[in-house]
Every structure is written in structure tokens, then in C-alpha cells.
């Protein structure tokens, strides 16, 4: 096998969409500026030309209506919609459809409804986009039952997980970190699937476990590489999907290392970070050697000024400090 080509996270997502649109006529897309404009972040470029306006729907600003349409279409079994919410921050205008409808229909209907749909959205801070355009929000979606939640960190994961998400028979919230769209990495041309619910150990280690998501995976790996030179061996786990969660990999790692740092860009309270910390406290108590550390933003909205935003986002320095504190 030759060298695996490198493409960006955005291109990888585009490839996954293109692949599924080409293979399955039931797959359609609904969203704002996904057609002519090619997506606010260029992710859907070329798809309208290739598949036409009967598959790629450029919609008026009516997110509740749009996703409601996607849900109805999915419920009939006639389509498998991919709904693009331009920014995950806009969930609030369509949360009822996401959560009281899509997430619960299967359950409320005793398993009789199949809501095969994906909600793709851009998330994450770092662009100076302020409090209403910078959130990541995966915690909340994992809290609310009935949604699968995917937060890929690498181009290859993004492609493989998106194909699996579109093929999944349940509603999947697929959050793409804006700061990663331009990141390049090796991505196989062939449409390989990465199953939901399987964590990826991005680096093996034995002294301490870091669980990190999305952009925080890179910062955690940076710390792991740095501290390795000092003889500190850090295991970095990227759960990739938050629901389902690969508990085994996480629990086994914590049991092995006895130490846990959770690094996450979402708000800290009642969050993905506390979820993992609580897993440690209840399921790995015997093996835990030191207090669990959470490295997250503060419990505040996201400030606009670049001077503040860069401090708000968890930094390599803070991760390093947390690791040292519990070693």
C-alpha cells in the first residue's frame, strides 16, 4: 500500500457526505447556505452541483421547521436526512425538534419509529466569534437521552464516523470543531467506517490517563509528548463518540494508571468532564491514586476579545499544570 494521502478535516467530511449521497438516494441534505454557498465553512462545496436541488436543500432561516421536516422524512422511512445546523449554538431555536421529537420518538413509540438522521453542526471557540457562535455543547446532548453524540478530532475519524452516523438508524448529533476544519491528516480514499462507541487511544501511557475531545486531543498530545521527555508516560484517550461511550477503554485506562485528567472545551458544570470524573469516583475508586483533575473553561459565556478568548479555552499550560499536580 502506498502513502495515505493527507486531506483536511473539512475535506474529509465533504468526502463522507459525497460518498453517502452517491450511494444512497435516500440521503438528502437540508440546511442554510449548504448549496450555492458551499457551506459557511466550505464543507459542502460542490455537492449542489453534483446532486441538484432535490437532494441539497438551501433553506430559509427556520431551523425548527427544517429539522422538523428532516424528522418527518426520516420517520416515513423514505429518506435519511442530513440536517446542517450552521453553528451548534443555534440549537436553541430548534431544540424541541432535536430533543423532544427526534431523540424521543423511538422510545415514546415503543421502538416503532426509526429516526435515521444526522444533525451536523460546527462548534468550538477560537475564532473571536463570541458567546453565540463559539460553543461546543456536546455535554448537553449527551445528557439528554435519545441522541447519539459524535465529536471527531482527526480528519480520518471525521470521515469514518460520519459515514457510520449517516448509516446509523438513530438520530446522531455530529459536532465538527471549527478550529479543526483546516487541520490535515491521513485519510483513506475508501469509505471505511468507524463504529460509534469505540474510543481511540491516541497515545498509550502508564502514569496518567487523559480523556480529551475534539481540539483538546491535540493539546493533550502536545503535553504528553513534552512530558514524555521527563519520563512521564501519559495515555491520551479520545472517546470520539460521547454517546455511546466506550466506558471500558476509559475505565481500564484509569484502573491502569490510577490517575485521571479530563480535558474538555465545553462548560464545566454538569458536563462531559464531570461525567468522566464521576465514572472514576464510582467505578475506579479503589485504583485511584490522586484527586481527579478537570481542565475546562470557566463556567462563563465565551468572551469575544482575543485577549480573553485565548485564556478562556483550556491551554497546553493548564493541562501540563493539572498533570503535574496529581503526579
Amino acid at each position: 500500500m502506498g502513502m495515505v494521502r493527507k486531506i483536511s478535516y473539512a475535506q474529509a467530511i465533504n468526502e463522507a457526505l459525497d460518498y453517502k449521497l452517491s450511494k444512497d438516494k435516500k440521503v438528502i441534505m437540508i440546511g442554510e447556505d449548504i448549496g450555492t454557498f458551499g457551506g459557511t465553512f466550505g464543507v459542502t462545496a460542490g455537492l449542489l452541483d453534483k446532486y441538484g436541488p432535490e437532494r441539497i436543500y438551501d433553506a430559509p432561516i427556520a431551523e425548527s421547521g427544517q429539522i422538523g421536516v428532516a424528522i418527518g422524512a426520516a420517520a416515513t422511512g423514505l429518506l435519511r436526512p442530513v440536517f446542517e445546523l450552521m453553528f451548534i449554538d443555534f440549537f436553541g431555536v430548534c431544540m424541541d425538534q432535536i430533543y423532544n421529537q427526534a431523540a424521543k420518538m423511538r422510545y415514546m413509540f415503543g421502538g416503532k419509529a426509526k429516526i435515521s438522521m444526522v444533525i451536523r453542526a460546527a462548534g468550538g471557540a477560537g475564532m473571536g466569534a463570541a458567546a453565540q457562535h463559539s460553543q461546543l455543547l456536546h455535554s448537553m446532548f449527551s445528557h439528554l437521552p435519545g441522541l447519539k453524540v459524535v465529536v471527531p478530532s482527526t480528519p480520518s475519524d471525521a470521515k469514518g464516523l460520519l459515514i457510520s452516523s449517516i448509516e446509523d438508524d438513530d438520530p446522531v448529533v455530529f459536532i465538527e470543531h471549527k478550529g479543526l476544519y483546516a487541520v490535515k491528516g491521513p485519510v483513506p480514499e475508501e469509505p471505511q467506517r468507524i463504529p460509534l462507541g469505540v474510543a481511540d487511544v491516541k497515545r498509550e501511557g502508564k502514569d496518567i490517563t487523559i480523556v480529551a475531545t475534539a481540539a483538546m486531543v491535540y493539546k493533550s498530545l502536545e503535553v504528553a509528548t513534552k512530558l514524555y521527555k521527563e519520563g512521564i508516560s501519559i495515555e491520551v484517550i479520545d472517546p470520539r463518540s460521547i454517546v455511546p461511550l466506550d466506558e471500558n477503554t476509559i475505565v481500564n485506562s484509569i484502573k491502569k494508571t490510577g490517575r485521571l485528567v479530563v480535558v474538555d472545551e465545553d462548560y464545566p458544570r454538569a458536563s462531559f468532564a464531570t461525567d468522566i470524573a464521576a465514572i472514576a469516583a464510582s467505578k475506579c475508586f479503589k485504583e485511584l491514586k490522586s484527586p481527579v483533575k478537570l481542565v475546562t473553561p470557566p463556567a462563563t459565556p465565551i468572551p469575544f476579545s482575543p485577549a480573553l478568548e485565548k485564556e478562556w479555552i483550556p491551554s497546553v499550560e493548564k493541562i501540563e499544570k493539572a498533570v503535574r499536580e496529581i503526579l
Binding site: 427544517q66 422538523g68 418527518g72 420517520a75 415514546m108 415503543g110 461511550l245
Partner: protein
């Protein structure tokens, strides 16, 4: 427009359906009062002509989305009343295996996309069904039922506009029963009819007497044919009235007894339709009594089925969240 010719068979189906809904709902009220049916129960008594007149134009493959007041839609569309009655009881034989109850009865196999506990929530679902229909080149249609209260809500505005710009085969049926729980229509909107809102979306809209099943049938026929012919969506307002409280247990202090009595005496859709069928010699008093009896028996059978059905089991709680296994889903011990 010429009056459509309707077969006797269809007219009798309409009459039977209305009676069936009425009998079902009155029995459900008793069962609620006896504490056999828990939760919130919103009955369709008085509004039977709307679901019936509309659905009389639909075939099995067509879709409908429904509301919290959904029994009538379900029955008209051909839902199995044993399954729905068992659902009202919370039994495992229910159409939702006891997980949904009155506000969530559903039968996807006949295109019934589900009742809905969120007002307006189902409106865009019918639009989505219509998108599926159109893309698959089918000649089916979808109908969204909803109330006057719902027409003030986001999904009405957003759902209808999307259907209009994409020219989808869907009909929006607003059951204006004059109240959003306690709020009279006159305090919800300063216009005279929800149908006036059709202009906002550039679609045909009409207001009809919802107590006259023939009138409902006619306007629905036109709208549904337009949808089937690829001419896009329409809006129908059916002016109706509910003969019971908003939900069972509601003393309905917000309306006068006189108003209620007036509607019952002058605008009972079953009495009105029966009179017409008697006049036309399509129905005799004997036929009518027989239908009533037959429907009562059917409902009684459903009640027996529900009563004798088993309760769901504790472990059922963990089923049906996802189509895949619960691995990695529960996380927390339970």
C-alpha cells in the same frame, strides 16, 4: 365548483367513523374518571367531522401528523383501537408498548406519524413526509392536523413556509375549536380566521364549518387533489368546538354553560350528518342504532383487551432508546 359525488359506501364510512370516535372518546372519559387511564387525556368529542371529512380523502399510504388531541385522527386513519386502548392503559400490548400513552399514540404502518405532546410539534413532520413522497415520485400526500393555539407557534410559520417554497404535497388542517385551553380565539389573534394566514405563505387557504362533515370533505378534497397533482400545499381552517374540557378533569370555567349547550344542540356533527343521511335515505334510524351498538361493542372489546393485557416489565424501560444495543448508552448503573 361542482359538489363532488360521494359513494354511499364512503358516506356510511364517514358516519361510522364519527360514531366510532364519539363512542371511543366517551368511553375513554369514563375510564379516566375510574382511574384506569392515567396521565393527560384530551378528547375529540364534538370535533369528529374534521378528522373524518379530511381522512375520507386519504388512502392508507398517505400520511398524517397529529396532536395531543389525537384519538380522532388515529381512528379515522384506520388505527387499531385495541392497540390504542391498551396504550391508554399503559399496557405492553399498546401501540407504543405502554411507553407513550394518550399523547403519543401512533401507527406508522398506516401513515399515522404520531400524536404529539408539544403543540405544533407535528406540523413540520407532515412537511417532511411530503418531501419524502415527492423525492420518491409517489402520488401520496401528507396532512398536518393542529389547533388554533398551534397556529401561533413557530412550527406553523416555519413548516408552512418551507412547504410553500418547496411546493410539497401537504395540506395543513387547523382545527379551530375556539380555545387554546382557556384562551379564546379572539384573544389569540386579532384576525377573524386562521385561514387569513395563508396569504403570508402564498398558498390557497379556506375556512370551513368543521361541524359539517360534507363541507370539510369538499374543501379537503380540493386541497388534497391539488397536492397530489403537484400544485403544492394549502391551508384549511375548520371551525369546530370541543364538547368536553380541554383535558379530562378540566372544569372549563373559562366558557359559559350556555355556549357549550348551544354547540351541543345546534352543531353536533353527528346529529347534523345523521339528519342528512336520513333525509337522503342512505341511513335509517335502525341502521344508526345498529352502528351505534356495533361501535360500542368494538370499543368494549378494545377495553377488555386493554384490561386483560399484561403490564410492561421493568426491564422494558431500557429498551427502545436506540436501534442498537445499550452498550455505552446507560453508563450509570441502574
Amino acid at each position: 365548483m361542482n359538489k363532488p359525488v360521494i359513494s354511499e359506501e364512503k358516506l356510511l364510512w364517514m358516519y361510522e367513523t364519527m360514531v366510532k370516535i364519539r363512542v371511543h372518546e366517551e368511553r375513554a372519559a369514563e375510564l379516566f374518571a375510574e382511574n384506569k387511564v392515567p396521565g393527560f387525556v384530551h378528547l375529540y368529542v364534538g370535533e369528529e367531522a374534521v378528522a373524518t371529512g379530511v381522512v375520507a380523502n386519504l388512502k392508507k399510504e398517505d400520511f398524517i401528523s397529529s396532536t395531543h388531541r389525537g384519538h380522532g385522527h388515529y381512528i379515522a386513519k384506520g388505527g387499531d383501537i385495541k392497540a390504542s386502548m391498551a396504550e391508554l392503559f399503559g399496557k405492553t400490548t399498546g401501540c407504543c408498548k405502554g411507553k407513550g400513552g394518550s399523547m403519543h399514540i401512533v401507527d406508522l404502518s398506516i401513515g399515522e406519524l404520531g400524536a404529539n405532546g408539544i403543540v405544533g410539534g407535528g406540523i413540520p413532520h407532515a412537511v417532511g413526509a411530503a418531501m419524502g413522497i415527492k423525492l420518491n415520485g409517489l402520488d401520496d400526500v401528507a396532512v398536518a392536523f393542529f389547533g388554533d393555539g398551534a397556529s401561533n407557534q413557530q412550527n406553523f410559520h416555519e413548516g408552512i413556509n418551507l412547504a410553500a417554497i418547496w411546493k410539497l404535497p401537504v395540506v395543513f388542517v387547523c382545527e379551530n375549536n375556539g380555545y387554546q385551553i382557556s384562551l379564546p380565539y379572539s384573544k389569540q389573534q386579532i384576525i377573524n380566521s386562521v385561514a387569513e394566514r395563508g396569504k403570508s405563505y402564498g398558498i390557497p387557504a379556506v375556512s370551513v364549518d368543521g361541524q359539517d362533515v360534507m363541507a370539510v370533505y369538499e374543501v379537503a378534497k380540493e386541497a388534497i387533489e391539488r397536492a397530489r397533482n403537484g400544485e403544492g400545499p394549502s391551508l384549511i381552517e375548520a371551525k369546530t368546538y370541543r364538547f368536553r374540557g380541554h383535558f379530562e378533569g378540566d372544569p372549563a370555567i373559562y366558557r359559559t354553560k350556555k355556549e357549550l349547550e348551544w354547540w351541543k344542540e345546534n352543531k353536533d356533527p353527528i346529529i347534523i350528518f345523521k339528519k342528512l343521511l336520513l333525509e337522503k335515505n342512505i341511513l335509517s334510524e335502525d341502521d344508526s342504532a345498529l352502528i351505534q351498538k356495533k361501535k360500542e361493542e368494538e370499543i368494549e372489546e378494545a377495553v377488555k383487551f386493554a384490561e386483560s393485557s399484561p403490564w410492561p416489565k421493568k426491564e422494558d424501560i431500557l429498551k427502545d432508546v436506540f436501534s442498537t444495543s445499550t452498550k455505552g448508552v446507560l453508563v450509570w448503573e441502574w
